[in-house]
């Protein structure tokens, strides 16, 4: 029992979480339009670009245009973007549900922007920062995690990016290949966890 407690506390953010090849669980989270969204709502999808992101983090903001571009390019090809805000708004008020609605409205997000209200989804996925992408591919075994990491390799300037990780990963999957790289790191904001 003690051992179990030890692992359940120490592993909350780092030890848990998906690795490449793991089957991803669906979720049912509140969208900015007031509806609840699950991946099961997209029976025709070939996969999903799940992005843990938020309002306040400058890295998330710097990638906003690129998230919108990904959604416009890949939703019609079967890989819609689903954005999830994992932050606790008592720590970061700018990431509250009402502020999410405001931002989605201002920027006309062409994708759902969901609130991980009990912070269970980001922990299950193993997101550690915003923005943090999990690319899922629908396969015989379910929704399989095929890429984890950054959108591209230049957070400051989209035009100066020389590697477009997510785009390349989706192209690989569409060709029946596995993404390479399938895991990248990026500087980002910590996820703000509710204080118990």
């Amino acid at each position: 029992m003690l051992l179990f407690l030890f692992f359940s506390f120490s592993g909350i953010v780092f030890a848990q979480g998906y690795e490449i090849g793991d089957k991803a669980a669906d979720f049912n989270l509140l969208n900015v339009d007031g509806t609840y969204v699950s991946m099961a709502d997209y029976p025709d999808a070939k996969g999903f670009i799940v992005i843990f992101t938020c309002n306040h983090c400058p890295y998330s903001v710097a990638y906003e245009g690129r998230k919108i571009a990904l959604a416009k390019q890949f939703a019609p090809q079967g890989y819609p973007v689903i954005a999830i805000n994992p932050n606790d708004s008592t720590i970061v008020p700018l990431d509250s549900y009402s502020n999410m609605i405001k931002r989605a409205d201002e920027k006309s997000f062409p994708y759902p922007y969901l609130l991980d209200a009990d912070q269970s989804v980001f922990q299950r996925y193993g997101a550690t920062r915003t923005p943090h992408v999990f690319l899922l591919n629908k396969e015989a075994g379910g929704l399989i995690v095929r890429y984890i990491g950054a959108i591209d390799n230049n957070y400051e300037n989209a035009d100066e990016a020389t590697e477009h990780y997510v785009e390349d990963a989706i192209r690989a999957l569409k060709d029946g290949d596995l993404p390479n790289p399938d895991f990248t790191k990026a500087i980002g904001c910590t996820i703000k966890i509710k204080k118990s």
């Binding site: 400058p58 710097a62 970061v92 550690t128 920062r129 990491g149 950054a150 390799n153 230049n154 957070y155 400051e156 300037n157 100066e160 020389t162 590697e163 990248t184 790191k185 990026a186 500087i187 980002g188 904001c189 910590t190 996820i191």
Partner: protein, 161 residues
């Protein structure tokens, strides 16, 4: 008495302005920055990765400043490595250093291709900030997340002589 106070205020204001002009921050790419990591010269290096917009980073800075003040005359070197965007140097970083009167050295790491270098700081780092690297010769400690003065001192104190 009020006259004296005003005079003092004016003098102080002038000194602050002079100091403000002195604030400068080196902007390094990763290759230049990395030379720092291989230094094995008996100095305890405390590198804190932060940014002006990162709330938990800003919150822990006083603890780092306290540590720096305590050991700055010893075999100790603290560097606050700002990951602010390059365009925020003049608009955010320099005014922040001035306003908070940071005493530890600040440098800006301008290396947007982070995937190429995060593992070279520490393989356990996912890339979230704040993050802190402490090293001396072969000793190395890394933490992703906030650190308090007490935690820092526990690691640094035995390395100081």
């Amino acid at each position: 008495m009020p006259g004296k106070t005003i005079l003092l205020t004016i003098v102080l204001f002038n000194i602050m302005q002079l100091q403000a002009q002195d604030i400068s921050v080196n902007v390094l790419d990763f290759e230049s920055f990395e030379t720092l990591l291989s230094k094995k010269n008996d100095t305890v290096y405390v590198l804190n990765f932060w940014a002006t917009w990162c709330a938990p980073c800003v919150k822990e800075l006083p603890d780092f400043e306290k540590l720096n003040k305590q050991y700055q005359d010893k075999n100790f070197k603290m560097i606050l490595v700002s990951l602010d965007f390059r365009k925020m140097l003049e608009s955010h970083l320099l005014p922040f250093i001035e306003k908070n009167r940071l005493q530890a050295e600040v440098l800006m790491l301008h290396a947007p291709d982070a995937n190429a270098w995060i593992d070279r700081i520490d393989p356990s780092w996912s890339g979230a900030i704040p993050a802190t690297l402490i090293y001396k010769n072969e000793f190395s400690f890394f933490r992703e997340g906030s650190m308090s003065y007490t935690e820092l001192n526990q690691i640094v104190k035995p390395l100081i002589h």
